[in-house]
């Protein structure tokens, strides 16, 4: 490929084009740079799930259950995408109530190459189709995380039924409550109208601004910050998995038989793909390729490295040996913790958040799990739920400009708003508790429903034989 200098005629045409674009301005325009980055981010998030998460989880189970894990994740990704197109996007990202959207965009009605979606800056939109795809990959990875908690003993039919129910009744409302808002163009426009309104029209303009501000999800209105999905993705999936492993019960032979990971090499490959893909997840959540995207990028590097080192060193000090599985688990814990904070905290804040996440998640995956004796097969609770809570609460502290954070943008005033620790932490805590309660209780009900309809658990004989041969009539390795 060669790089050509633009010819004089080309520059002239460009100038004419720019002039035409500015004079013909009518509403927000799509920024091609942002759009290109968001398409890249979207496929990076898919890379996180298949193959990233699939291999990370797959390597951790016994070889007789390898395919069952890969299959459950591949199925989850595919079914989530179809549901997203049929009604998921519509109920998540249209107005209606503060808890769930409506069906106006069901079957992707009205979403065309010409429609746009808001970013975090006024007048910098991206294509709605790209936004649709980006958010679709989030709806696909979140339920995929859950299957790790009850791996090696759950019927495929149970997963097949649970996933559509869970994303419909738990994920879509959560995503709507946290991420749905009218967008900066609507708010800035309404605020300008208030400023420009004649004294007698002031009240009407203010009422319109209030309506625009109220056109947002409940948790968003509380002022809770969740940059890329600490509550919506990680706490949400983590607690759902935890409830699942309690209801489904321990694996046969848990605590007595060897249940060592069958390939930590694959787990390492999967974790590395997760890290790479996470740049789409965290940096893409900025929706624009600007300086804040750069901040989210550096934070996604530093928190992850810090958490991997923290877990590794803590293990080395307490047990005498640093393990690879410990280091990759730490890396994933760091990625989870920095997810809600990625575009809000400063780089040194991310580093501290990573160190804390590495140690606390290690404590939950070892001491807490062993004390209470629950069989969260792949530590979905210890890494995703606990890491997500640390991140959500940490975001409330580290967003403080005095600690190197960005502060929170006030679109009406057009500046960064004042930071108050108590207010911010209350909002963060309410968001965490809401997620734990909604997903914890909601998932428990869904597991019970699935148990009645198809049964959650395979028989002991099937479990002994392995899910690959019995549920899927194939084996991972014919050697």
């Amino acid at each position: 490929m060669t790089f050509k200098r633009p010819s004089g005629a080309g520059v002239a045409a460009l100038a004419v084009g720019l002039f035409a674009a500015t004079t013909a301005y009518a509403g927000p325009t799509v920024n091609k740079g942002d759009n290109a980055w968001m398409m890249t981010s979207t496929v990076l998030v898919l890379l996180m799930t298949i193959p990233g998460l699939a291999l990370f989880y797959g390597g951790l189970v016994r070889s007789k259950n390898m395919l069952s894990v890969l299959m459950q994740i591949l199925y989850t990704v595919c079914v989530a995408m179809i549901i997203w197109a049929i009604y998921g996007y519509s109920v998540t990202f249209t107005g209606g109530s503060a808890y769930i959207g409506g069906f106006s965009k069901a079957f992707m009605a009205g979403i065309t190459p010409d429609t746009t979606a808001a970013t975090f800056s006024a007048d910098a939109n991206i294509s709605e189709l790209v936004y649709f795809c980006f958010q679709m990959t989030f709806a696909a990875i979140t339920p995929s995380l859950i299957v790790g908690a009850f791996a090696e003993r759950t019927k495929f039919a149970a997963v097949a039924l649970f996933v559509p129910l869970w994303i419909t009744l738990i994920y879509f409302p959560m995503a709507h409550m946290v991420w749905y808002w009218a967008g900066p163009d609507a708010i800035v426009g309404a605020a300008k109208a208030v400023a420009a309104a004649a004294p007698d029209a002031k009240a009407a303009a203010q009422a319109r601004l209030d309506d625009v501000m109220a056109d947002a999800g409940r948790i968003f209105q509380w002022g809770a910050l969740d940059f890329a999905g600490g509550t919506v993705v990680h706490i949400n999936a983590g607690i759902a998995g935890f409830v699942g492993c309690l209801i489904i019960g321990k694996r046969t032979g848990y605590g007595r038989e060897l249940m060592a990971p069958h390939s930590l090499t694959m787990t390492m490959i999967g974790a590395a793909l997760l890290w790479v893909g996470w740049f789409g997840f965290n940096v893409g959540s900025n929706l624009e390729a600007n300086g804040t995207a750069g901040l989210a990028m550096v934070n996604t590097f530093l928190a992850t490295a810090a958490a991997a080192l923290a877990w590794l060193c803590a293990e080395w000090l307490t047990r005498g040996h640093p393990s690879l599985l410990g280091a990759v688990s730490g890396a994933v814990a760091g990625l989870v913790a920095v997810t809600p904070a990625a575009g809000y905290c400063g780089p040194m804040g991310a580093l501290v958040l990573g160190l804390v996440a590495g140690i606390v998640c290690l404590f939950f995956c070892t001491a807490v799990k062993n004390t209470f004796g629950y069989d969260d097969s792949l530590d979905v609770f210890g890494v995703h739920c606990i890491g997500g809570i640390l991140g959500a609460l940490g975001t409330g502290i580290l967003v403080n400009p005095a600690l190197g954070g960005t502060g929170v943008m006030d679109y009406v005033a057009g500046t960064v708003g004042d930071y108050d620790l108590i207010t911010q932490m209350l909002a963060q805590s309410k968001a965490v508790l809401t997620t734990l309660i909604l997903s914890g209780i909601g998932s428990a009900i869904l597991y019970k429903i699935v148990d009645v309809i198809v049964g959650l658990r395979v028989s002991v004989e099937v479990e002994r034989e392995g899910l690959d041969l019995t549920e899927h009539t194939e084996r991972a390795y014919n050697m």
Binding site: M259, A260, N370
Partner: protein, 112 residues
Amino acid sequence: MKIVMAVIKPFKLEEVRDALTTIGVHGLTVTEVKGYGRQKGHTEIYRGAEYAVSFLPKIKIEVAVAADQVDKTVEAISAAAKTGQIGDGKIFVISLEHAVRIRTGEADSAAL
């Protein structure tokens, strides 16, 4: 004729093969096996879950030799497979009644 059967540490296989070739033994059957003796097992830890692994991976070799070759063979194997650490393995000598080379039909010592 005797079968000399030895269970050794996997990483000693190449040295044992070289030692046997040197003393003129030109056939060897190798099997990957698991087991334990005085070494017992070891402990593996995955995210804090400790597993006592009681069956360790070993290599079993089987060589058919003429009776007068047995001592030399046993000496060669024990010299090559020895590290002096627990878990070096064992050698068993078993009587062999009859042997046939399938391609030619030769029998007993001619078949070895």
